[in-house]
Subunit: 457 residues, 2 copies
């Protein structure tokens, strides 16, 4: 029997958890500052809730749960593991419509499961950190979302990320005004997505292979070139002004003007937020999920092929559960990718590497066990994290164990100390030993910890 976790999943040992909790703590704190409230949903949903929401490919990647008891033999599944946090939110909004506020802003940090082929950085169980704002069509919603996400990344120590911004109807407009009919949009986007790899001429021939008419393909590539050439690509405001100008010209007097106008409003308001100078209009950004209806966005960093997260407006999804449409917009940060980049860049502060306890109580003899427990209680009430060595081993062995665990201090209460009402405190970093009165032991250790932290600065 194997003792490895199932394929594509991971066990998180203490040091892993400390890193994860550092990131989740920042995410949560910042999202609370923006007025988002916490929500959690069950790990599994009724299978009908999930099927048909993620496209053909998504359906295949859903983990399905066998019916129980007498139905088990039928091989039927009635439940399925959560595939993202957006569809459960849409169900929740429909179910609790009378209890939730008119503008419901929630964050949700939970694992999701996808039966993808496991690969480097791609897991079958991974955490998403989502924020969504329900109930308003105002572009301020997009701006606040991007502001909050940027604030999270800045607080974590990211200073080189870009927010790529597009609009589903801008994308549709670019294809349509190039002469590509609606039913070819999906295949055309697949070709466009390869631009990085195969260049402009490659895209042109790929479009032809996919049945796009020659005049339309070349018009699309012309537009692409024009837009990519817009503005100095490292300055957000100049780039955006230039690209939005180009879109304005292309869409003049077409039904797509409003979508470009919406991007313009978002870009203007962003200047007043922590996302200022981060947001770049990218008129060919597509994003996979089919439920988006308006603005779409994605976070890019130079040293990661995929994105750190993405999101967009989806004004029709809740309607699938509620029977009437409710506007909604959200953003999802990928916890695992953030951790991968932060680890590679050495971005985790020292506090994350803390040992399991500040002090270890050594055990002198079986007779002194009750006294060791009493001392542990005194030090814990004094605000310290305290471990107790469980067996009356040789003292040298106990010191060695404390060292290996990274415990900062070890207490020794031998017969002499017990008679004198003192405790010997050994600093495991310096080797220095002090004998202090029992009542002062916690203060003494806390003081030494403070001094050591200040010396380290």
């Amino acid at each position: 029997m194997t003792t490895k976790p199932p394929s594509g999943t991971r066990d998180f040992l203490p040091a892993d958890i400390r890193r994860r909790e550092h990131v989740v703590g920042v995410v949560r704190r910042v999202y609370e500052q923006y007025g988002y409230e916490p929500l959690e949903t069950p790990a599994f949903e009724n299978i009908e809730t999930l099927l048909g929401k993620y496209g053909e490919e998504g359906n295949k990647l859903i983990f399905k749960i066998l019916r129980r008891g007498e139905h088990e033999a039928s091989g039927h599944a009635d439940l399925a593991l959560r595939y993202d946090l957006t569809v459960p939110l849409a169900r929740v909004v429909a179910q609790y419509q009378n209890e939730l506020p008119k503008f419901f802003k929630r964050y949700q940090i939970q694992p999701v499961w996808r039966a993808d082929r496991p690969a480097r950085g791609r897991f079958r169980e991974f955490y998403q950190c989502d924020i969504d704002a329900i109930g308003s069509t105002s572009p301020m919603v997009e701006v606040e979302l991007l502001s909050a996400v940027s604030d999270v990344l800045e607080t974590l120590g990211f200073h080189d990320f870009r927010v790529l911004l597009n609009h589903r109807r801008v994308l549709a407009g670019l294809l349509q005004t190039s002469g590509i009919p609606g039913h070819q949009h999906e295949t055309a986007l697949v070709a466009l997505d390869k631009l990085d790899k195969i260049g402009e001429s490659g895209v042109t021939s790929e479009l032809a292979t996919r049945g796009v008419q020659e005049f339309a393909a070349s018009r699309l590539v012309e537009t692409l070139k024009k837009i990519l050439a817009s503005g100095p690509a490292d300055q957000a405001s100049a780039t955006n002004r230039s690209r939005l100008g180009t879109l304005g010209t292309i869409f003049a007097s077409t039904p797509y003007e409003a979508a470009a106008q919406e991007l313009d409003e978002i870009v203007q308001m962003i200047a007043s937020t922590p996302a200022a100078n981060r947001v770049f209009v990218e008129p060919f950004l597509a994003r996979g999920l089919s439920y988006y209806t308006g603005a779409i966005m994605e976070i890019a960093v130079p040293d990661l092929a995929g994105s750190l997260g993405g999101g967009g407006r989806y004004d029709n999804l809740i309607g699938m559960f509620l029977g009437r449409d409710v506007p909604a917009c959200g953003f999802s940060l990928g916890l695992e990718r953030i951790i991968v980049v932060m680890t590679e860049r050495g971005m985790f502060p020292g506090v994350v590497a803390n040992g399991a306890a500040d002090v270890m109580i050594s055990l002198w003899s079986a007779d002194s066990r009750a006294d060791a427990l009493t001392l542990a209680g005194e030090l814990r009430r004094g605000g310290l994290r305290v471990d107790v060595y469980p067996e009356a081993d040789k003292l040298g062995k106990q010191f060695k164990y404390a060292s290996s665990r990274g415990f900062g201090y070890v207490t020794v209460v031998g017969d002499d100390e017990r008679r004198a009402g003192t405790v010997t405190i050994k600093d495991m970093t310096t080797g220095h030993q002090d004998s202090v009165a029992r009542a002062l032991a916690a203060d003494h250790i806390r003081q030494r910890m403070t001094n050591a932290r200040e010396d380290a600065r």
Copy 2:
């Protein structure tokens, strides 16, 4: 399509999460003070890891996951949802034996899933908060576990709980010395478990029905009476002294003496910990799980039929994964039951009921959106949780909305304020309005919040 969560599961809206986070925060903080380290394992395990660990009944209650892709049609399951946190821990200890410390103490707070028939307080998805100490047979392990658990409950505000303590071999000894052979122990315990409902004579006849010989049944009931009569049941130390004395007499010169002696050691050491006066020796406490080998324990409160949690020593389980036995002992607190009792008793402090934000920025006009975002950023940097009203509605409507959400303050920046560089701050509790300089707005609100908190005392 239903929008309810699946049978036996729950959605947690913001107010629910705040209560849960309060409890989990205390659990985590106290366990860290005792030197336990965090661990997390995947939601599902390979199915062989779980099958056969929880008895016949347990196997039926495990949620099984269908194989994916081409294998889906076969109806076979290869994965299963976590059923408890102990078996995954045993797997982890076997897998990472060279990375983990000699004495590995971990806490784990994660959901588990059981396909039980849902009932009041019984869910199919529920959280366990486990601590376990691996690697030592010392009874100090049991003492530290019970001390930590008692500390958690005291910190949460429980002052009337009891820790029931027994030992698997004491239980076996009581049955054996009454003349009940090993193969009848299980059925005899089922009868004993009904004592509360059917009384002593009921238990005697139930034992007969289950095939226990008459002389053995009556000896067992005699012993039961003798032990239950021991000591004033409301004083732990007197009760324990008397019950341990009785056990000593019954077990004199039998192989069960050592087990009673171990309980005695635990009880003596407990006196030096926060669990002092909480622990009651209950020689007929059984606990369901089959993997326990030594001390077993359970937490009882007067107003709950079931227990708040339980645990015990299991020195053979890790051996099932590792091939050699490693001693282990653990305790599991049930988050849902703790929350049920705390809610019924009104034990959640006021802070849990906090609104989603401290301040709401009202929106004067579409033109002032950028300014509203700037002000929001200023107040957030000033340490406040800030929501922004997303649409330029009538001011009265915005105030009403802020009231309904429990936001403490609303800012208004109209044309006059903008020219003067001020902001009007309305206290939604008192209705009082102040006009203050923009740069002082965050300080002003924080000051008023502090004053209001002090007035409330």
